[in-house]
Each structure stands twice: as C-alpha cells, then as structure tokens.
C-alpha cells in the first residue's frame, strides 16, 4: 500500500470487508471458541478429572472388546466381519483413516480409468459415478445395511451360493458404508484435476519414454494430487462427523453419535458434559487442521468450479485386455453398488415391504402417508423457510467475501478467504454445539433467543454459515471472469466503487450467484448435523431432515418407518436433481457437487 492511498479511508471497501468478517466471527469463530471456554473453567475446578475422563472408558478403551471376525455355525454358517471397540476417540480416528485410505485409492483409480480410457459403457459409468453424490441423508446408510448388514442381500446371496453367509456389523459395517458413501468425493476431485492436465505435459513424458503405470505414477497422479488431497481431506472430515452409517450399523462408540445423544438429551447448556464439548472442539480443530494443511498445498477453490477443463477427450486410449477385465469385473460392479444407495432409497420409497431379498408391493402410499402427516408437512415448510432466509443472508455474505478477496485484497482478505471457505470442512456438530454454548447461556434462558427453546433462528444462521461456500465459490468464479478493466473503465468515467459494483460487477456475476444460491438452498434443505441437533430441541421448529432421523431412530417406533423416511428422502433427491439440472442446463454452469 502506498502512502498516498492511506490518507483516505474507504467506507465502501471497509464495509465490504467488515460484513463477512463480523458474520463469520460471530457465527463460527466465537461459537467454536465458546466450546473451549466451558471446559477451561470446569477443568480449572475439577483439575485433571476431565482429562482422566477422556482417557478412560468409554472414550478410550484400554482393553478393546470384541473380535474382528465372528464365525458362527448354523444353517448356513455365518461369517461376520466386525471390529474391536477401542473406545469413542480411537474408533472415530481409526475408522476415518481407513475410510479415507480406501476411498482415496478407489476414487483415484476410478478417476484415472474414466479420465484416460475409452471403452464401451464409459459414459454411462461416468454418469452413474455421479449418482452417489446425490445426498440422501440417513437412508443411504440404511440401504448399505440392507446390502451387506446382517440378514442383508449379501448375506442371503453368499449363503445360497457359497454355503457361508457373509455380512458385516458394527464398526466394520460402518466403515464399509462410509467408503461407499464417500469415495465419489475423491473421484470427482481427482477427475476434475486430471482432465485439466494439459495433454502436452503427458505427451512430453511419453515422448521421453514413460508409459502406462510409470506415466501415471510420475506425471498424472502428481499433477492431480491437489484434487486427490482435497477430496481425501473432505472424506476424513465427513467420516468423523457422519451419523448415518453408525446409526444404521448400531455403532454407539463414535464421536458423532456421542455428541448428538448429549445435545438431544439436554435442555440447557450446563447439562452438556465437559467431555462432549472437548470432543466437539477436537472435531473442529482436526477438521480445520486438515483443511488448512490441504489449502496450504493447493487452494481449494481452484477446482471448486471444474468448468474450465471441458472434456477434451484428447488423451483417451484403449485399455489393455487385462485392464478391460478389471474395469468390467471390479469397477463397474463397484459403481453400480455405490449408486444402489440412491436406487435403494427409491426402492424403499416405492415399496410396501423390503425385508426379504426382493421388495414387495409397489405403492405410492408412502408418499401420500408422509404428505398427509402434519408433522412432515410442517417440517418441509420449516426447512424451506429456513433455507430461503439463509439464502438471502448467503447472497450478501458470499458476494462481499468474494469481492473482498478477489477485488479489494489487502491483508485481511486472506483471513476472509479462509473464513469463507472453511465452513465446508467444519463439522456441523461442532458448529451446532458451539452455537448452543455461545447463545444458550443462562441470560438467554426463557427468552425468544434461547436456542434450546427457539432453535429456528439459529438453524437459519447455521445454514447460512455452513452452506455459504457454494455461493461464495460461484461468485468468486464469476468475478474471475469479469476482467478488472470492465470495472476500471467505469471508474475512469467517473463512477465510484459502489456504483461500479451495482452497474457493472453485479449484473455480470448475477448468473453465477444465482446458481450458487440454488445449490446453497438445496444443501440447506438437506443439511443434517445442525438440523437434527438444534432442530430436535423443539419439535415445532424441526426441519425435514430431523423427521427423517426421527423416523429411523425410533421416535416413531422404527421398523417399517424406513419406507416413510425413504419417501421423504426421495423427494429431497428430486429437489437436488432439479436444482443441479437447472444450474447446469439453464445457467450453463458446471458444478462439481463436491460439497455433499
């Protein structure tokens, strides 16, 4: 900055920067910091008790219980993959590491094959590999249970065919379900990176004699590493905060379940144990650490919009016979099974009963039943209200953050850049608990501002924080395409900054922002973590995903309610398909829907 410009304070520039700073500080930083405050004072009082508590059962299990494989004789005999219970904290970390490793290997391999080879069925596989990215809260994991849980399809089929019924339970099942749910996140990021590699770079390497695996190992994968790494980081974070898979496989001892149970049982922040606050804080800190580490390495937003690459298809080659066999025997079934979560949701939604191998009784009654349930209708209304209000806030925050980072610059803009993108990686459970810790203090008790009785307001704010990155990235991408000289031309003709923004900048990025807002809106409606925690505190204000959760966890008695839950989720899927199609076709933007 030069001396000349320091002389004059820019009101507009300052406000544009202040808005996102204040917003994220109040709704993200301070809530997370409050998580620290309570444990700190309690720890001062109770001394080392808390740390001792956290280092013993159930948090850390020094004598792990259970077996990795359970074999039981019978007709047919059963082989059940299981896992030892190491306690809440190690379970969560071990599971997240295994899920991340497997999802990364699988996602990268599939991306490499779909990005570099051509073979019959490739396009169908590419489209099918996007299906798992449709968000189907909770029900997806229950479909996974149906697939390879006890008494599931895998068990039935192997029992018939092999004479041994193979299934999974507990942590092993949870890990398997998460790999199924999350591998496409790595895939989509790796794929986006790979198609952006300049073909001549690979051709040059080939020209120098690198072929096949050597070429991929030395050129392609290293160049795609930013995408792979960011996908992997997101998977690690999503695994830690996932609720669906542990619920479906009845795993109690993981951090996410622990936190939710405590929140839903509390009527006041003082009833939440110090240990839980520390767990939430650990979630937040490790997620931020991953996020920042990956960002230091690459900038996350770089492939937020994969629009640049375009499928040039120039580097496509034919696979060798061996590879072709692998593609059809391993990759294809894998993709089909992955997409079967979404298919399974539809099967549940349109059937009367699916307790055997095949579903029975095609019906629309699940839909009519949920739509005539006043509780469901109200929850839909709540969700739409919260999501649209949040979208208004998001519009403001996203445009100001993007403008501050891309156009105004300066030292604080780096801070804004991180704040505006980190919510994507921040576990919603930590955000929810943080909001309760910050706004649920005793003076708010009984007032309309008490989140324990009036969570709706906080859900709006939580959605606005958590789902703003989709719009921010879109606005940012829009700004990148509006050459600075378009704004400078107006300025040189005498227009001040606010006028330039109104006349030139906003009209030119409006389409991007609209597309981003639609995505933010849809992902707000399907949001889970804060919805089922904050949203469960007052039934009148519950959003729709809470009702799904409630159906599946037995608020309604469990069992057949999965068909009703699936009907709701099927409607949410339709909403997503409609929104994404609209953004892609009508607004002509390509969204890699990596946020999930």
């Amino acid at each position: 900055m030069s001396r000349n410009s320091l002389a004059r304070i820019e009101v507009f520039e300052t406000s544009v920067k202040a808005l996102p700073l204040v917003f994220f500080t109040t709704l993200l930083i301070l809530p997370l910091a409050s998580l620290l405050y309570a444990p700190f004072t309690v720890t001062l009082e109770r001394g080392v008790d808390v740390l001792e508590g956290l280092s013993s059962y159930p948090f850390i299990n020094r004598r792990p219980l259970g077996e990795f494989i359970v074999y039981s004789t019978g007709e047919p005999p059963k082989l059940i993959l299981s896992f030892k219970d190491y306690g809440v904290i190690p379970n969560t970390i071990i599971a997240a590491l295994i899920v991340t490793a497997l999802a990364t290997i699988i996602g990268t391999a599939v991306a490499l094959i779909l990005a570099r080879y051509t073979f019959p069925g490739r396009d169908a596989m590419r489209i099918a590999s996007m299906i798992p990215l449709l968000y189907t809260p909770f029900v997806n994991a229950f479909v996974a249970y149906k697939l390879f849980g006890q008494g599931g399809i895998l068990a039935e089929v192997t029992g018939e065919v092999l004479g041994v019924s193979i299934s999974m339970q507990g942590l092993a099942g949870m890990i398997m379900a998460q790999v199924f749910m999350f591998w496409p996140i790595v895939y989509i990021n790796a794929f986006a990176s790979m198609i952006q590699i300049d073909p001549s770079v690979e051709e040059q390497a080939e020209n120098l004699g690198a072929r096949g695996w050597t070429l991929y190992k030395t050129v392609t994968i290293p160049l795609a590493l930013p995408g792979i790494a960011s996908g992997a980081a997101l998977v690690f974070i999503f695994s830690m905060e996932d609720l669906a898979a542990p619920l479906a496989f009845d795993v109690d001892n993981v951090v996410s379940i622990w936190i939710v149970r405590e929140i839903l049982a509390a009527t006041d922040i003082s009833q939440v144990s110090t240990e839980t606050l520390i767990l939430a804080l650990m979630l937040a800190v490790s997620a931020s650490a991953w996020f920042i580490a990956v960002r230091r390495y690459i900038s996350l937003r770089q492939y937020a919009t994969a629009e640049k690459g375009g499928w040039k298809g120039r580097r496509l080659r034919r696979p060798s016979p061996l590879l072709l066999v692998i593609i059809y025997l391993l990759i294809l079934p894998w993709i089909i099974v992955s997409a079967s979560h979404q298919i399974g949701v539809l099967v549940y939604a349109f059937s009367e009963d699916w307790s055997g191998l095949l579903p029975r009784g095609f019906t629309l009654s699940n839909f009519s039943e949920v739509l005539s349930d006043e509780r469901v209708v109200r929850s839909f209304r709540n969700s739409f209200l919260y999501a649209s209000t949040a979208s208004l806030i998001i519009a403001l925050i996203a445009v100001t953050s993007a403008y501050a980072v891309e156009r105004i610059g300066g030292r604080l803009s780096t801070v804004i850049d991180v704040l505006a993108t980190i919510p994507l990686a921040m576990p919603g459970l930590a955000v929810a608990l943080g909001i309760l810790a910050l706004f649920g203090f005793t003076v708010a008790k009984g007032t309309p501002l008490d989140p324990f009785t009036n969570p709706g307001l906080y859900l709006v704010l939580a959605y606005a924080v958590r789902k703003s990155p989709f719009t921010t990235r879109a606005a940012f991408a829009g700004l990148k395409h509006v050459h600075k000289s378009l704004e400078e031309a107006a300025m040189s003709l005498g227009a001040r900054r606010p006028k330039v923004v109104k006349d030139i900048t906003l009209p030119l990025i409006a389409i991007n922002v609209a597309g981003g807002l639609l995505i933010s809106f849809v992902y707000s409606v399907t949001e889970v973590s804060t919805s089922i925690t904050l949203g469960g505190l007052n039934e009148d204000q519950s959003p729709v995903t809470y009702i799904v959760y409630d159906y599946l966890t037995g608020g309604y008695g469990g069992g057949m309610f999965i068909h009703l839950a699936a009907a709701i989720v099927a409607m949410l899927m339709a909403l997503q398909v409609a929104a994404i199609t609209f953004v892609n076709l009508a607004l002509k933007q390509r969204y890699a829907f990596i946020g999930v």
Binding site: N4, E488, A489, A490, S492, L493, A495, I504, P507, L508
Partner: protein, 355 residues
Amino acid sequence: MTKVALDNVVKRFGRFTALDHVSFTVESGEIFTLLGPSGCGKTTTLRVIAGFENPDEGKVYFDGEDVTPLKPYERGTAMVFQNYALWPHMKVYDNVAYGLKIRKLSPEEIRRRVKWALELVGLSGLEDRYPHQLSGGQQQRVALARALVVEPRVLLLDEPLSNLDAHLRLRMREELVSLQKRLGITTIYVTHDQEEALSISDRIAVMNKGKIEQVGTPEEIYNKPTTLFTATFIGRVTVIEGVITKVIDNALVELKGGDVILRGFIASGTPRPGARAKAVVKMENIHYPPEPGEANRITGRVVVSMYLGWRVHVTVETREGVRASALVSPRNAPKRGDIIELSISPEDTLIFVAD
C-alpha cells in the same frame, strides 16, 4: 485542455520497481506516446495517470494541480483499454451513455451527446447492438466513443490498435489522429509499435525497464537518439563495437572495430582515446553501391541476403569478422559470397561511448 506532468514517479510491485523516477510533461492538446518494449512499464505509467495505481513516490499534476491523492473517478481522465473493456451486458448506446449518466446530464443532453460521439467514430445506427455483435474495429470505436463522449481532460489509450488486423490498424491510426486533432484533447498513447508511435505522435517518450530513456519529437527520436537503447530500439540498425582511436574535435571521433575504421559523431558519453564505444548506423544509411562522397567504408563478403520485397537485407562480414547490414535496392542486390564495399556518411554514424 489539460497539461499533464509526472514528477519523479516511482512504482514498486513488491520488490520489483516497475517505474523508476519517471518524469515528463505532456503539453495540452498534444498526442504524447509512451513507446518501449513489453514489460517496460508503459501500462503502469498510464494507470498511475488514471489513478488506478498509487505511486510509491512522486506526483502527478494536471494543469499544475497535484492529482496524486485523487481517485480515478475524480480525475476526469478517460481510458481506452487494450481489450476495450466494453460492458457485455449493455448495448452500444448504454456503454457510451454511461459516463454521461454518472455526470447526471439530462436525458436529452445524453441522447444528443451519444449521437454526436457515435457519429464522430462512424458508428451511427449501431446503438442497439451488444458488444459481441460488433467486429473488432467497431468495438474499438465504441470504446473510443465511450471515452470521448464525456469530454475528458485527458484521454488515455493503452495499445488501442493492437487487437486489430494490419489493414484496419492503419486506417484506425489515421482516424484516431484526425479525430484527436479535431477535438484537441490531451492524449497519452501507449504502444510498443515504433512505426505507430512515429506516425501519430507529436512527441514520444521512449521507455526501458521502468525508466524514461528519451523524450522528443518523432524526428528527434529517430534521427538524434541520445541513448544507446533508443538508438538501437528505433529503426533497423547496424552496431559496430570498437575502441576510440582518435578524437578529432569534441564531437567527431574515429572508432576502430576489428578491421573497420569509422568516423562518427558523439551521441553520448565523453570521448577519449582508448575508450570502448559502439557505432550505431541506421541500415538505410548504409549504402550499396557505395556513394562517392561518404568517407566511411566497410568491405566484406556477403553472408546473408534476405529478400524483403521493397528492399533486400544484406549482411556482410569483414575479414576480421565484423558484421554490418544494409537495406539494398532489389535491382542491384549482390549475391551471397560476393565481396562488396558499403559506404556510410560520418553524419549518420552515431558513437555511444561506454562509461
């Protein structure tokens, strides 16, 4: 009519100094051109004048008034960008009217002036087109109309013709000059095309590595370069390195480079025998066949003979390996391998003494 002055302007980007104590004065109503190689700081200079960049040191004056602290929108300049920067969401009319609306003129006044400006650049009738429905030359003229319509104090043009094809560029060049002369707006023009600079400018500032090398009329810049950079950057030249062997008087010296001995006039530096120096001669002043009255002679074997159409570029190499190039009429061009003699007048031989 505005007189523009830069006084020791310094602009740094991080540790890199883009402008290094740049000073010059642009008289009111003149076309003043910044000419220099890519990356020398031309655009940066223009942006400092427009107010898009704040100089780290130094001042910018309009008519003696210090405008350095003023924002771009307070300076009354109008810039035409290299990419034209037309607003794609506005029609031609709205693009041109924008600056007038900012100035809150009455609708009739706006309509009248937009009409005038579009007529001026020969675009009447295209008001309702969007920029993407225009050809490159038309877009360029809209950009010009948009700048002119506000009657700026200073018109800033950043390589406005560089995106046009060669033909259109020549035509627009002429139109631009006649328009500017008619309106008399002080104009600062940026280009890296020396022919363009020489043909349109009242005066030229030659820039190199963030510094002003020389300011002068096109004739002065071309014929009386004061720095080695200007001498070699403008026109096609032959450079012969050597040592000064004789100082005949304060201006005239003799230089020996290999087996070539030339007499020439000092363009810069203090002559003394034994000093290293370079002789720079414009190729068109090197003659073949040699002209009888010209004292400097170079004899060598033709090593290059390149046909350019209007001339043949001929390079000879002397026995000791000194090379010199001339532009020779195709009618009497020598062939490769011929041994020929070239002649140069000492008046056309400029000597730059190394310091």
